[in-house]
């Protein structure tokens, strides 16, 4: 057997794949073969490494050198310079705000420095298709410990003491949920993993499923033992085919190794897991709707109580936790409740994974201790807002959450603090918005989402959100009236009070929170018929500055409706009657002569 001297890790997370990871890997392997290195150097596709904006990322071990933005051309240098000659390819190294980061100290990159990885501990380090690599990182050790040394009650006690709360958004204490399900009397019980990650802008669970599927299987089996269950279901979105493929592979491997199935590890405990695939309904993230969907029905929510812990899947007690919650379980069992509880704040223990996106330099997946401030998260880890723009707001919790304005950036990230501000922790989507974002438009965007996704069962949610959307559309068209703002608030409160499930109860949040913090922007739309961020099409005009325009005709050529006229080398003009406000002209103008104005 050839001795493997180098291992090359290549990130196969969603963002890196869309940045061309597959072809990079192909060229990398060809190049290795060309130098007869294919037996000596191992290439491993890992889960998401987190720094999605720098992808595709390639890391060379044992040196621990991380290369960013690798393409089919420069990947050859990694083989020819680094692998063959032992010389680090300096120009491809990770770049920080102070320049290139020295090869061995990539952890010093501010993107990684403030992170604490528990749920995502194996992402970007192991090959998710290989169970041995998971085992080598203490995988299935927690399960072994639980099955051979602990009673179910002891397991629940540890989870309770750790202070872990549900990472799906609501933050219910996980240990309590386990205890309730344990106490429900029944000969049949189920464990369900909610992997129906539906919030737009959220890809935490996807990354965990794709990058470390075994951790979910191990945690579900531990949960099964703790509550007295026999079977588990993972409910995954159909939009995540790669996650489904890797889960299927992981389940087969776990069965083969005796970690799943009959008589696990010879202890007499039996537990098996099946995958159920969603079909594109956001409301199925709600636990009772999810149960209906697993049963093959329309995914509409039921009245609670009874809670799933009492009457869930097919009427049997059912424990439902989300992917990230499960991913925290094995480390808690191995390292203990006190260790976990020592991280975070008084009421929010441990870490939270966020998908950082929007107008921020380092987009990607980050895991941070609870209690970190939004400022640290966005500026120290995220690198701040690009193009010297000003940060305007941070949106957390997706369509159920709210917008937090820039003046609250020093708020610690924990369940209670975010809720106080009218936002929520949510499942972990965090979208940064800069001065070019119109808050009314953002609120409208989220309302469109809920209108589409409302299952229709409760009238306030079905009709109320539609009414709110109509009002917002009216406002962004410049036809808003002053009483519209009060109407929005009133409607919002009624929808929150009278909807059955979490979807309706939180749907007005994006509107109410923007109304609270950015009322002046709403008022500008209503009273002055003006969009301060210059986004709402009906309220803006494109104009050409005749001083700056040199008459290059680039804009006139790109305009899809022929709204721009003017002679060559003379200042051009835009006809506002024809212009559709598509913005193509601004993008091609090299002289900064075109701008948007709002009266």
């Amino acid at each position: 057997m050839a001795v493997s001297t180098n291992t090359i890790l290549i990130c196969a997370g969603g963002a890196c794949i869309s940045a061309g990871e597959k072809s990079v890997k192909q060229v990398l392997e060809e190049k290795l073969r060309e130098y007869a290195l294919d037996g000596v150097v191992r290439v491993v596709e890992t889960g998401c490494m987190g720094a999605c904006d720098l992808g595709p990322i390639v890391a060379v071990f044992p040196e621990g050198v991380y290369y960013q933005k690798v393409n089919t051309e420069n990947v050859k240098k990694i083989v020819e310079e680094h692998i063959l000659k032992g010389r680090v390819v300096e120009e491809m190294l990770f770049e920080g705000p102070q320049g290139k980061i020295a090869a061995e100290v990539y952890e010093e990159h501010p993107f990684f420095k403030k992170q604490v990885k528990i749920a995502t501990r194996n992402l970007g380090i192991i090959d998710p298709m290989n169970i041995d690599e998971y085992i080598a990182r203490d995988g299935y050790f927690a399960l072994t410990k639980v099955l051979t040394e602990m009673t179910p009650e002891q397991v629940i006690e540890v989870v309770k003491k750790s202070g872990l709360r549900g990472r799906g958004g609501a933050g219910f204490p996980t240990g309590l949920k386990w205890e309730f399900t344990r106490k429900s009397q029944s000969d049949k019980k189920f464990v369900v993993c909610n992997a129906d990650e539906g919030d737009p802008g959220a890809f935490m669970d996807r990354s965990i499923l794709e990058g470390d599927p075994h951790t979910v299987l191990e945690a579900m089996t531990i949960a099964g033992y703790a509550i007295g269950g026999q079977k588990g279901y993972i409910y995954v979105r159909a939009e995540y085919p790669l996650a489904i493929e890797r889960l299927k592979n992981a389940i087969n491997q776990a069965r083969e190794y005796g970690f799943l199935g009959e008589n696990i590890l010879g202890t007499g405990f039996s537990f098996d897991i099946e995958i159920r695939i969603g079909a594109g309904a956001f409301v199925c993230g709600e636990e009772t709707a999810l149960i209906n969907s697993i049963e093959g029905k329309r995914g509409q929510p039921n009245v609670k109580p009874p809670y799933p812990a009492q009457k869930g899947l097919w009427g049997y007690p059912t424990l439902i936790n989300n992917v990230e919650t499960f991913a925290n379980i094995p480390p808690i069992i191995i390292k203990g409740a006190d260790w976990f509880a020592s991280i975070g704040t008084e009421t929010s223990k441990g870490t939270k994974v966020f998908a950082l996106a929007g107008k921020v330099k380092n987009t990607g997946l980050v895991e941070v201790p609870m209690g970190i401030t939004l400022r640290e998260l966005i500026y120290d880890i995220g690198g701040g807002v690009p193009n010297n723009k000003k940060l305007k707001a941070v949106q957390t919790g997706g369509p159920s959450g709210g917008c937090i304005p820039a003046e609250y950036l020093d708020t610690p990230v924990d369940y209670e603090s975010l809720k106080e501000l009218g936002a929520i922790m949510g499942s972990g989507g965090m979208i940064v918005m800069d001065e070019d974002t119109c808050m009314v438009d953002v609120a409208k965007f989220f309302l469109q989402f809920t209108v589409d996704e409302s299952c229709g069962k409760c009238t306030p949610c079905r009709e109320g959100t539609r009414k709110m959307l109509e009002i917002l559309e009216k406002i962004t068209r410049g036809e808003g009236e002053e009483e519209d703002l009060e109407k929005l608030e009133e409607l919002g409160k009624i929808i929150i009070d009278s909807s059955l499930c979490g979807l309706g109860q939180t749907a007005p949040n994006p509107v109410l929170s923007t109304l609270k913090y950015f009322r002046d922007e709403y008022e500008a739309h209503v009273k002055e018929k003006r969009c301060p961020a210059k986004v709402c099409k009906d309220l803006i005009r494109y104009v050409i500055d005749s001083e700056k325009c040199v008459g290059c005709t680039a804009c006139a050529r790109v305009c899809p409706v022929g709204a721009i006229s003017g002679e060559v080398r003379k200042a051009h003009d835009i006809d506002p009657e024809i212009c559709t406000r598509c913005g193509s002209c601004i993008e091609v103008c090299r002289f900064g002569a075109i701008s948007k104005v709002s009266p």
Binding site: A15, A281, D452, V558
Partner: protein
């Protein structure tokens, strides 16, 4: 001619029946069966729904209810290349709506419609989870395009047109 169409159809139904047998006619597997049926037939016309209802021993109304509830199921045919434009928050903030407009303009269809040649259909989809590459377009099940600008749209369409029906 007609006979061969019939035969082709029979083959498709046989494939579906085999899958139903695999799940042992379990009616709770309805969503899985519908996924499979849509993969086989391309969409879920009422005849296929009736067939499934019969095989799973449940009312057609229940099948219809499920088909119309979930956004991934369709009763209308879709294009050979389904163009899915992510309208998640990150993509929206980075101008995905402009991409959608450009695709509509270039293909001369509205969202949810199919081009006359049956090659393309246009769909707005929920977050595809590649927010760092926003705005994102996915064509078919595996072709990802990140950081797409409206100007790249004609080129993307051309690529698939050149492949034609292949």
């Amino acid at each position: 001619m007609e006979k061969s169409v019939c035969k082709e159809h029979e083959k498709l139904y046989r494939e579906l029946d085999e899958f139903i047998q695999e799940v042992e006619g379990d009616s709770s597997a309805l969503i899985e069966v519908l996924h499979k049926a849509q993969q086989i037939f391309g969409h879920l016309p009422i005849e296929v729904q009736e067939h499934i209802a019969e095989k799973l021993n449940i009312p057609v109304s229940k099948v219809f209810g499920v088909v119309t509830f979930y956004s991934l199921f369709t009763m209308k045919p879709r294009g050979k290349y389904q163009i899915k434009i992510c309208l998640g928050t990150a993509c929206y903030v980075k101008g995905a709506d402009k991409l959608m407009d450009r695709f509509k303009e270039e293909l001369e269809i509205e969202e949810g419609e199919v081009t006359k040649d049956g090659l393309f259909s246009l769909h707005a989809v929920r977050c595809l989870g590649a927010c760092s590459m926003a705005p994102v377009v996915m064509i078919g099940e595996s072709d990802f395009y990140g950081r797409v600008t409206p100007d790249e749209v004609p080129k993307i369409i051309r690529n698939y047109k050149n492949r034609g029906g292949k």
